[in-house]
Amino acid sequence: MTSVISTVSTALGVADWAVRESRAGELTLEAEASALPALADRVVLGLDGRLMSLFASDERHPAGRFVVHHVWSLPRHRSFLHISAPIDPATPSYPSIAAKYPAANWFEREVMDLFGLVPEGHPNPARVALHDDWPDGAWALRKDFPDDRVVPRVHGESHPFRPVTGEGVFQVPVGPVHAGIIEPGHFRFGVAGEPILYLQLRLFYVHKGTEKRFERLPWRHGIFLAESISGDTSVGHALAYAHAIERLVNVEVPPRARALRVVLLELERMYNHTADIGGVATDVAFTVAASRAQALREGLVRVQDELFGTRLMRGAIALGGLKRDVLPEGYDALRRYLDTFEKAFDDLVTLLIDAGSFTDRVDGTGILTLQVARDLGIVGMAARASGVDTDFRRDHPHDAYEGLRFEVPVEAGGDVRARLMVRAREVEQSLSIVRQVLDAMPAGSDASLTAPLPRQLPARASALGWVEAWRGPCTHWVATDERGEIARVKITDPSFLNWPGIIQAAPGNIIPDFPVINKSFNFSYSGNDR
């Protein structure tokens, strides 16, 4: 590890002692705010770093400062680099890196909205999290802002969408209430006839104050809130939160629970990918394939129900391990179902890609190029379908992934077809992973399923938890105050990093293809808005 520290500190041009390995796989560096842009350059150019999260914390009491945090993934070094910079409350601003690194764009604007810290030099310092009818100065994540303050509506200008001009060119507004059973968000298309000229997004309709809520709940109850960050990623977010807490208290999760957590996470990946493949089929009106996919997805969900008592695997993960064990009969049922599933899933994919009427709609549709994906810092499944080889399960192994054999499927196309194929190949890998885990399941009883946790969290401590969930990396940064209560939880859902990708993928396509493009990504609104 010393070699990693010296490599990193050399690349950053800082003294060896400045970079600390605060916890396994987590390097920390405290810097001056003015040094943030230069450090970002060095992280990206010298260490191949990728921005995973950018946020603030209010440490005015007792430290008398705000802190801005940059969290980078350094896949080559299997580490995260957490750079934190103090901000003087008297001059609440810090230098922006968004002009050079667009991944920071929404993050910095969110910090501005919720903390009132201004990113100096941001190319578009408009609101992102707060809608127009929020008054100025409603900095909800500041500590002196009570979470039950009802914020009055002010008469604001409606969101300034980019105007569209020219003969025969017009705007199509869609949402926030959509036509299907999906989450709310507003899309504003600039179109010339059917082809899309550009797309603008207005999100945060389902901003529920989740991060603030964590500060009110007892930390043991935080796991339930984590399960409700994004309903289809309850395992992913619950695990990310659990990892952060377990790292905070230095508890090692028993091997059996680590193995079972892999099963949970891979089942979640499988049922969501299957559902989304069905969704893509629905959106091109291929009902036979859509019905098959829905039935397969329901089959998986029912097995999950049998194994863990809830259909979407809520309440399965405990802080320190797993709530309850799976009986041997459960494993047999799972194995049997996976065999049936594998054959049927294979048939489903063949049915789709053999149908010319289907491939005609998905080939070359909604292309997100490798260049754009890299520039925007796209993560997870969406990045892999655009040729970016990234996966936390391999680059920052968690739970039992270190000892498992699996490939990271990467497709070059960047279109709907590529995203479909990445999903299909990931399901194959998931099947193999689950079987490997079942074959080598460490023996144990209920007692060895959960590590005992101390009654209290350590005071003034923080830790990062991460997971490669089905959409991509979920990260939770948890910090405690002087009493060992939760002071701040920063949640980063992959959707927050990925939504800007769809703005680049849509233009040039026709409006009727937008639903299928959107579905092929299937980003979370709730995970984005929190």
């Binding site: 914020v151 989450e183 603030k212 259909r311 809520r314």
Partner: protein, 281 residues
Amino acid sequence: MLRTIVKSLRTGVLTEAHPFETQPSFGFPVIDFSRCVACDECARSCPTGAIQTAASGPGRKTVTLSYAACIQCRECVSGCPEQAVGVSHDVEVAAYTRQQLARTASFDVDAATGRGTFVHVDAHTGPGLHESADRLRERIRGRLGRSLHVRQVDAGSCNGCELEIAATTNPLYDLERFGVHLVASPRHADVLLVTGPVTRNMEIALRRTYDAAPEPRIVVAVGACGCSGGLFGEATYAAVGGVDRVLPVDVYIPGCPPRPQAILNGLLVAMGIREARSVHN
């Protein structure tokens, strides 16, 4: 094309004849008040305040369990030192008012030991299930027949409820056979199926959606958050809370998320075909 037809024929009918007969391992918690000593442990273990205790006079205490806020996490079941919290396997729970989802019991408290002795279950405030069912039937009389057009509105949900609402349309549950059809616009809708917590940023859109729907515009609130604000609470800076804080709600379907058969059941209740049952009654 041929392959598709063959596939279709080979698969046959997947729809289950009796979707309401399956019983999950866990539905909602049920407190056996005769064993309960009103010790507060379950209330402390509950992350949403679905279980609450309160002093109701000298030496008197009440324990209230409301399914409106219950996220079915089972913490109260494992947290009860008296093993007084059991589980019901019934998930087809629906009600016409928030009060109908709650049950309160009164206890005499021994000053020396602090242990409570069960006295009685408090009478409901507000209308009972039958009375509410009649009122709803009166409102929709003759208008809906045996069909229901439903517009789903996500007013702040985590998407969990949407997944289960979508599951009711899959070939196994196939809600269309009950005459229920999900429509794309509130203008076509008899029912708004609303999930919550209603956020500040969705409140206006939700009101406008309601205004766009034709009478009798039944409102069905789905999920713990839709019924009560759930984990996210009510009247926070970002969320208004339960759907009934914004719109008049006709039917509540609790659960986190409610299972597909619970949602089906709730929709049939909204049609007046089934009558709401709450395991409390």
